[in-house]
Symmetry: C2
Subunit: 219 residues, 2 copies
DNA sequence: CGGTAGATTGATGAGAGTCAAGGGGAGTGG
DNA sequence: CCACTCCCCTTGACTCTCATCAATCTACCG
């Protein structure tokens, strides 16, 4: 536990660096309604943040990959829950000090620090903002084909081989991220296969035969 | 022009406070692809940020009301354009100094300052993040009815009278924000009227007869 | 009194949701 | 080593919502 205190402009804010934590697939890291006093850095694996509605529907807000930092929220409670998609390792940070219940009540949470994380907090927040906007754009798009193309390209960008995407999440996860049903996700992938855009190496491994064609549907 | 220089953790960043600017309805404040060296504070009126696709479709990312600060982006260029919805007054701030092309290259853009804005920049970014996530949630919802209900409640919260919403934007704007068509927006409002949820005082003024019924469809 | 832009309403069709049934692969146990 | 099982994925048939195309209506302004 390393206590860090920084000048937050409108006051002093501090947080502690927690231990490295391991999570099994589908294990919850924090839940909807939990106190938003922690934020998370992903070291390995993939984490999903999601929102469950009272009628059982689920919407996935984002998938977080190694290097991502997420979980800072404006309110007192987390409006989203976070769960491991596959085996995952994270570092958990905990807000401390005068501004309780989240980083934003007292002003700016951090500035300069030696361990490499805090001075990038604002950058991470901005990256999360850009991704949320991008996600909203994706969901606003009309067709399932466009959404799926955007999704594949998103993961293509994270892959060592841009043309071979390995999906760590289930069809249900993809559906909840794209605002579709499992059946539609499956059918759309089949259609893409028929049209020669992709090859289904296995259910979770997809070869992007025509990146350019996919990019054309994506704006 | 007031030059402000602040310690940005990983370096010094400065920005200038620009003049108060007036915009007529539909006038552009900045365009998609413009250099992202400015951010905006809304003083009066409503601003929309939107993204246009090559095929002419338009998606509205957000409506910004007085007090909102928007336009900081991670990249070098604005990925969205900003336009006045109605007559609007804003203050434009411009990034200066070592970290060119946006606030996020050199670290944290601002900390302490006397004029009330800078120390809240992080808070504004976080608010924008929360709103983008909320928007994504809205777009992920299935039915037009739910989307419309969420939209009305969003503006109800901004109104002096919670039960009387005055819409400053056109049906087309609403449609582009909700990922629907103008016709569906219109039909959905008519349906709500039929069901006694709302009254259409005029095209742009809506009385919310049953806030509770609307809230029930909104989660 | 037209003229125009925005809003509403109608008819129709395409695309995604729903319900239901059928693969397929990984792991388990005999 | 094979059979069984479970879960995930795929496919099929049908329904329903929303997009599309088109016409009408309304308010505002010259």
């Amino acid at each position: 536990m390393n206590l860090t205190t920084v000048n937050a402009g409108a006051g002093w804010v501090s947080f502690t660096t927690g231990p490295v934590l391991y999570y099994a697939p589908d294990q919850e890291i924090y839940g909807q309604g939990d106190t938003a006093d922690t934020f998370i850095k992903v070291m390995a694996g993939v984490i999903r943040t999601c929102h469950c509605l009272h009628d059982g529907r689920r919407q996935i807000d984002a998938f977080h990959v190694p290097g991502d930092v997420f979980g800072f929220e404006f309110g007192i409670e987390h409006s989203l829950s976070a769960e491991a998609v596959n085996e995952a390792t994270v570092i958990s940070y905990r807000w401390r000090g005068p501004s309780r219940g989240g980083p934003c009540r007292g002003g700016l949470p951090s500035i300069a620090n030696a361990d490499g994380l805090p001075e990038r907090l604002f950058g991470h927040a901005m990256r999360n903002l850009a991704r949320a906007q991008e996600h909203a754009r994706l969901l606003g798009r009309s067709s399932a084909l466009e959404k799926m193309a955007a999704f594949l390209l998103e993961w293509s960008a994270h892959s060592p081989d841009r043309k071979l995407v390995t999906l760590v999440m289930s069809r249900q996860d993809i559906a909840d991220y794209l605002g579709l049903t499992v059946e539609t996700v499956s059918r759309t992938l089949s259609q893409m296969k028929q049209e020669g855009l992709i090859q289904l190496v296995s259910a979770r491994q997809i070869r992007l035969t025509s990146l350019t064609a996919l990019r054309e549907m994506n704006d």
